[in-house]
């Protein structure tokens, strides 16, 4: 998301929004609203002034600040300093900032983070409502349940599949795996059992064979994709590492 928003420079490839680089957008807040981390507010500045300066950068009229504060339910605390806000209130302020330019595309990074159940329900309904108005909303989340009840399309990205290994010589195997760049988690209840990440089952098996370590079990564990498949049973698209260019288009299905 940071690449898409021009905050970080990609090592290769380009990220486009509506066919344009974020950098080339005029008054970008009118095209794309983004919620990255909630804490991008000066703690000494009031919510209203935070939104006001953002609005001024795009020539958005000041009354729009009151509108978005009302939309996220922060109108009563608009003149309190943002440092006094709870995580949930900060998150709402972040949503208000994203909605300031009334954009067609919204990028929300972990929007339900730190919200109480009521807040979770609120953001879920808000996202659905905004989507039903024809906006494109890209949400990242590690909460699969949450995504299962909100998302129309899910892109699952998995970078670390894990492998379960059982061996009578687990200590030695753990050393071999660590030396080969994998990560090992021991099972406190069962000394023979290891959970390996960073290496796939074939590599772990190969290591064990070349060192003459006996294996009793070698199981690739269910990946994120499989977990998603079970949860959503349908409408799932998969993406691996390094898919590019990433693009989000106004109201278009991917």
């Amino acid at each position: 998301m940071r690449l898409l928003l021009g905050l970080d420079r990609p090592q290769s490839g380009i990220a486009l929004i509506n066919g344009q680089r974020y950098r080339d957008l005029r008054d970008p807040l009118r095209t794309v609203g983004a919620l990255l981390e909630a804490k991008s507010v000066h703690p000494g500045r009031t919510a209203r002034n935070h939104l006001l300066f953002l609005a001024q950068t795009q020539g958005i009229p000041a009354r729009r600040v009151g509108e978005v504060l009302a939309l996220v339910g922060l109108l009563d605390v608009a003149d309190r300093r943002a440092g006094t806000f709870s995580l949930g209130m900060s998150q709402r302020l972040g949503v208000a900032a994203a909605m300031l330019g009334n954009p067609d595309v919204l990028l929300l990074d972990e929007p339900v983070n730190g919200l109480d159940p009521e807040g979770v329900l609120w953001i879920r309904n808000l996202m659905k409502q905004l989507a039903s108005e024809g906006r494109t909303i890209l949400v990242s989340s590690h909460l699969m349940n949450e995504m299962a009840v909100t998302a129309d399309y899910v892109i699952a990205r998995s970078t670390n599949q894990s492998v379960r290994v059982r061996s009578p010589d687990a200590t030695r195997l753990a050393e071999l795996i660590t030396a080969a760049g994998g990560k090992v988690a021991a099972d406190p209840a069962d000394r023979d059992l290891l959970t390996v990440t960073g290496l796939d089952a074939a590599k772990v098996g190969g290591l064990a064979a070349s060192a003459g370590v006996v294996l009793h079990e070698l199981t690739p564990l269910a990946s994120l994709e499989e977990a998603f498949m079970e949860l959503t049973s349908g409408s799932v698209e998969f993406g691996g590492r390094g898919q590019e260019p990433v693009s989000a288009g106004g109201g278009s299905a991917q």
Binding site: L52, T57, Q58, P103, A131, S132, I137, G251
Partner: protein, 282 residues
């Protein structure tokens, strides 16, 4: 995840996309909102005014009461030969610390609080954002610094008038008093540039203080004409020449040349700051 619908309705809070000039005015308004809406800015400026004018009054009062004291001869001679920098020197010498800190904080506080990301999302081309900040900050500083400079001069010269008759109509006096305000303003931009390059409050403040307060002392220790030449071109040493009423025989630069040297340092640093801001991940 994408939400779908047949056609996206036209949106945007109001009006068409803005032109280049209005866009920059918008950025300046936003930077002004940022500066005025944080208490630390306001407090630092108040401290700057009180410390500078207060210290000027105190030092000049002490000088006045000890005018005929035993060890006063050299100091009193200096007060008569260069009255403006004698009157303003101590107050501005300490007050400039507040300006250095403020210049650094207006940008590093954005990094420490994460506001920089909100700013760069709104202004992804980045360099205009820095330019707007520099222009607004300089405009604020020049007003406050000239008020402080003239205020200090009037207070100090009123206290000392029995021994050091000096008025704005004297040769070089008006230039020196206005120059003190200009010097503080450019110094603030110098600090802003260093803050943008370093991005961390503590490191940037330490660097600015090192350059402004410590380097002149160190270069003064260098032997021979080496030290004198390096010293003359340091930002603080060169820049503060403009507060001297008269050119001294030992000065290597004229007051305006010295101020020009400070401006060149500041321009170079601002260019480096703009380049790094544009290139680095936020």
């Amino acid at each position: 995840m994408t939400a779908t619908s047949p056609a996206a309705p036209a949106r945007g809070a109001s009006g068409p996309a803005t032109g280049r000039a209005t866009a920059f005015v918008n950025l300046m308004r936003a930077e002004w909102t940022k500066i005025r809406s944080v208490r630390s800015t306001v407090w630092t400026l108040i401290v700057f005014v009180v410390v500078t004018v207060g210290l000027t009054a105190l030092i000049n009062w002490l000088t006045e009461t000890h005018w005929y004291g035993p060890k006063a001869a050299t100091r009193d001679a200096r007060a008569i030969s260069d009255p403006v920098s004698f009157i303003l020197g101590t107050g501005i010498g300490l007050g400039q610390l507040a300006i250095c800190v403020l210049g650094v904080l207006v940008i590093t506080s954005e990094y420490s609080t994460g506001v920089i990301r909100a700013t760069l999302l709104a202004v992804p081309r980045r360099i205009p954002a820095l330019a707007a900040k520099a222009v607004v900050f300089a405009a604020l500083l020049i007003v406050v610094a000239e008020i402080v400079s003239f205020g200090s001069f009037f207070v100090g010269s009123a206290i000392l008038h029995a021994h050091v008759p000096v008025s704005l109509s004297g040769p070089g006096v008006t230039r020196a008093v206005i120059g003190a305000g200009l010097y503080l303003t450019v110094l603030g931009l110098f600090a802003l540039a260093i803050g943008t390059v370093i991005r961390h409050s503590a490191g940037a403040i330490a660097t600015v203080i090192g350059v402004v307060f410590v380097l002149p002392i160190l270069s003064g220790l260098l032997p021979g004409s080496w030290g004198a030449h390096i010293n003359a071109y340091l930002p603080e040493q060169a820049g503060s020449l403009i507060t001297h009423t008269h050119e001294q025989a030992s000065d290597l630069l004229s007051p305006w040349q010295g101020f020009g040297v400070l401006c060149i340092w500041t321009d170079l640093l601002l260019a480096v700051a703009a380049y790094l801001l544009d290139r680095r991940d936020a």
